[in-house]
Subunit: 339 residues, 4 copies
Amino acid sequence: MIKVGIIGATAYTSREIIKILLRHPDVDISYLGTRREGNFKISEIFPVLEDTLDMPCSQMVLDDLPNGLDMVFVTLPPVVAMQYVPMFLNAGIRVVDLSADYRFQEKSIYERWYETKHTDPSNLEKAVYGLPEIFREKIKKADLVANPGCYPTSAIIGLAPLILNCYVHTDDIIIDAKSGISGRGREPKEGTHYCECNENIEAYNVGEHRHMPEIENILSLIGKSETKVYFTPHLIPMNRGILCTTYAKTKKKSSCKEIIAIYNEFYSKEPFVRVKKDDKLPKTKDVANTNFCEIAIRVVDERVIILSSIDNLIKGAAGQAVQNMNIMYGFKETLGLLY
Amino acid sequence: MIKVGIIGATAYTSREIIKILLRHPDVDISYLGTRREGNFKISEIFPVLEDTLDMPCSQMVLDDLPNGLDMVFVTLPPVVAMQYVPMFLNAGIRVVDLSADYRFQEKSIYERWYETKHTDPSNLEKAVYGLPEIFREKIKKADLVANPGCYPTSAIIGLAPLILNCYVHTDDIIIDAKSGISGRGREPKEGTHYCECNENIEAYNVGEHRHMPEIENILSLIGKSETKVYFTPHLIPMNRGILCTTYAKTKKKSSCKEIIAIYNEFYSKEPFVRVKKDDKLPKTKDVANTNFCEIAIRVVDERVIILSSIDNLIKGAAGQAVQNMNIMYGFKETLGLLY
Amino acid sequence: MIKVGIIGATAYTSREIIKILLRHPDVDISYLGTRREGNFKISEIFPVLEDTLDMPCSQMVLDDLPNGLDMVFVTLPPVVAMQYVPMFLNAGIRVVDLSADYRFQEKSIYERWYETKHTDPSNLEKAVYGLPEIFREKIKKADLVANPGCYPTSAIIGLAPLILNCYVHTDDIIIDAKSGISGRGREPKEGTHYCECNENIEAYNVGEHRHMPEIENILSLIGKSETKVYFTPHLIPMNRGILCTTYAKTKKKSSCKEIIAIYNEFYSKEPFVRVKKDDKLPKTKDVANTNFCEIAIRVVDERVIILSSIDNLIKGAAGQAVQNMNIMYGFKETLGLLY
Amino acid sequence: MIKVGIIGATAYTSREIIKILLRHPDVDISYLGTRREGNFKISEIFPVLEDTLDMPCSQMVLDDLPNGLDMVFVTLPPVVAMQYVPMFLNAGIRVVDLSADYRFQEKSIYERWYETKHTDPSNLEKAVYGLPEIFREKIKKADLVANPGCYPTSAIIGLAPLILNCYVHTDDIIIDAKSGISGRGREPKEGTHYCECNENIEAYNVGEHRHMPEIENILSLIGKSETKVYFTPHLIPMNRGILCTTYAKTKKKSSCKEIIAIYNEFYSKEPFVRVKKDDKLPKTKDVANTNFCEIAIRVVDERVIILSSIDNLIKGAAGQAVQNMNIMYGFKETLGLLY
């Protein structure tokens, strides 16, 4: 039984982490930290937790370490997260950080895209990118895991088998991504107003979303060669779910069957990746509230088209964070996550 | 051709007034006033108006009268509206006010429910409640029309024939009302956040919504006896539409047929009230984007159950405001509103 | 460990039962029966179950008993269910039936409302109405539990404390109920077409829904006096959730505080009923995907207004069915249901 | 004043044609034909039309010509449409056909994709593709206009300026399209069931949708060279709206400004095309219920990314059909469509 804290307890992703951990036999939720003022229980913020976790939240003060924790999930916004992470690491507390602050090995890329100086470069170097399907061995030994972004999770799982096997050209990959509104976070603003989102679809940050360099960075690492993606995110009137429709150009003519075989082999032992059978295509509703990623492949002439879907709050955030914890502590990887 | 101004041009209801007036052959939109700073066209606020009304908004200053207007629609919030209305009336400009500031003949009721002193009591006395189905004759001659609230419009049209004919007990009327999210206004807040509204229904302000005294006030006027209603509003995950399910107790046993006959006669000449035929029930989608109110009646034992539906932004606000303008100026009542 | 079968495995409620049982430590899903032809796994019908329950469905033949089962959940439609239930009971297999076929002690009420002869009257007499909050002791010993309808669950939990304590008049109770579209079942028809349901609210079966006599029947039993309800169901554009807004007339003037105290005591030991604190009101999203029922009380003059919300597929069907199974087998009542 | 008939009056698109024509000063709706049996008014099918068009529908019999019509809109399904169209043309009645039956100049392409023999090849040759922005001059004189598909309208308007000016490679165009559910038609089936569509996004017919050859066909015509597109349609949980995100490869390096200038010039006189200004992007809600198409351009390295949005039922069907009629009869092109 490990003692776990959640740093930034009032985020949507924290609610999901809590719901998963309540099902986990080997975890004790010991601390809920928040920057909000006032005395309140987490179930006052998320009434869905009433009678299942009526635990008080603690107001966090920088450099004031909570007692007796083995590991923490940090769900603070980028830039804020790296203010808190070193304190935990220094005290020997392992960290799964859900912000973007430790996702880039190269400080300079982070600093360009997040328009700020990185204040914790030494830990940045040691951080492991928490995509179990690719970096499982490193995650086992990591003290700091940088949990991937929601779009990158979906896109990279969709592309990794082709990139690793050098099957596609790496200079012309198009990722057309669609996300539910919870991806926009909890803050009320015009872009999250019901009447602005409902009965509407729109693209945003075309070619300049911060998840684009994250995807390029990791794919380059996987394929051991510079990878360039065109990335267009869209907002869809639903609460949760991401579907990536990815278009890559094959180096040599391949049948759909051949490519599906590559995926089936690559993911044959993965507990949370489902390569769709027959002529089925992923629907986000089939992965909603689960840690699964569904993938389907189509080949049209020179293009392979990859459909990959996840729940942005689970496999794209909270679920994957718990999966990483399971790996770090040698728990069965699916604990808390399968049912 | 009359010259019309809209005072508070960036509200959702103003967008709807504009869309209707653009179809109106006898109206010239001459002025769009706003309290927002900066130079912008209305089509920058509402891109749907691009190429149909690319008119600049004017920043309003209290006591600085716009030129050359015949009438104005005031879509400012309550309390603010009554600061602006006198200026127009004093200059001989007729007003349809969409706030609550002139809906109560008795100042004291307003002051209790809106928790503020009424600053324009003399105009309050002269104001006419703008429900054409009941007060058409008075509206014709009015200089100041208080456009009804959205819930009251739906509820009162549903009850008026029974109240006027003293068919039901007036001390035990239950109005269970359901509204789309646009009724909450344009301001982003937790209660209008997509993820909080979507896949959810909730009641709010049970027994203490400000539209309750408005409904009681007007029904008492219609029935010439004190009327008490129990009013429970609910929020529904859709953009527009109100359905009121109203339960009244008949004084003597009546068949559904008899009561429908009363409604059919009462509304026989009304251009915007549809009493449903046969066994049909109102659906809000059938009145969406229209100025119609649909009504159906069921009798179960001692209770008559009235279903009445409107589009909260049209018959519940903008459309009714234009209908009132048509009546005030002797235009055909359906101009701009039927198609 | 008990061996459980699901009879009617392709219904939405069966999917939910399966998801819950997969979390249950003492249950083995041993049989999935369906009337559909062909060989298929349940995960082909519900892709969300892929990799968690890839079990084949068996085509059922009347009078052909599946082997080795301890109990079954019957999710067949009314009238069909009572064709299958006797076979299981005769073989000593306990049954939780989710249809309406065994909910009425009086055969005649069933026959009037379901317009058919009851073909299994002897078991009807022995069936226990599976609302644990009221009939827990009887459920423990029952071989046949009639799982309540979704609306009745929400309405009865909302009213029981007042009815049992004779606090309200039983001849004038109004239940205004709102349900998500999944309550309409899986069959594609005009009334479940996305474009007909989305951006729409409507009432249906006003005063003649089959859940009305079910509610009256059970409330009469609880209060030991004839109870009459006016029941109006509505369809709301969301997948799951029911909110009942119930208006009852108190016999003597009572404060909201007094009545909440009654509820708090009545439900103090119930694991799945939450009486809302302070000024909070139920939101269906706070009980979605859970077995909880949330209740809030308001008193306005002579009326007590009860808001009660559930997930129609969980506490209104699958979750309550498992709760009943837990009670029947002496398992901890919350097993599989709390997290 | 021309006398117009609608052939297939109970389709969603017919409802929209009717709503538009009711605003049109020069059109008389003279005939509503349907293949459904029974006597009914159109307002019984579409209650939104009650009190605005309570006209009876006529049951059509093949070869039985309705009297006194000048032109007809045919909204029958493909294959059925070409059974009815010749009858009207032979009688000198002009036709706007909304099916796919006359959209392909080459019979063979039609026959391959619609898997049927074309039964009216002589009229096929004379038909004009009804995209006013490209084929206005031909439409003026046409007796038979083939109204474009919804996806093709959005995609072709988005691409035409680049294709015509030979700015992009025509062998590697990717069109990632998203549509509301009304694009699936009125028929209730699993794919239009509310609970299957809501809270879900999915792709369908990847690389094999019938609108793909239609787009290729017309772009090839416009660019005078074989054009190949990769086309992936998706279903979005909303009633109406299409957004196409199109990725084309520029032949020579160009700035976003240059390309926007091309679009601004190309569409400078078009009444229904809006090239977005500044950094704005199209939202489907800004064109909902209008005949507008909104376009925005982004350039990222070698790729130009085109966002184009329409209302699938209006500019993608009914509105464009009326626009074509206006052109055919020399009416002002925006009549009935602008407000």
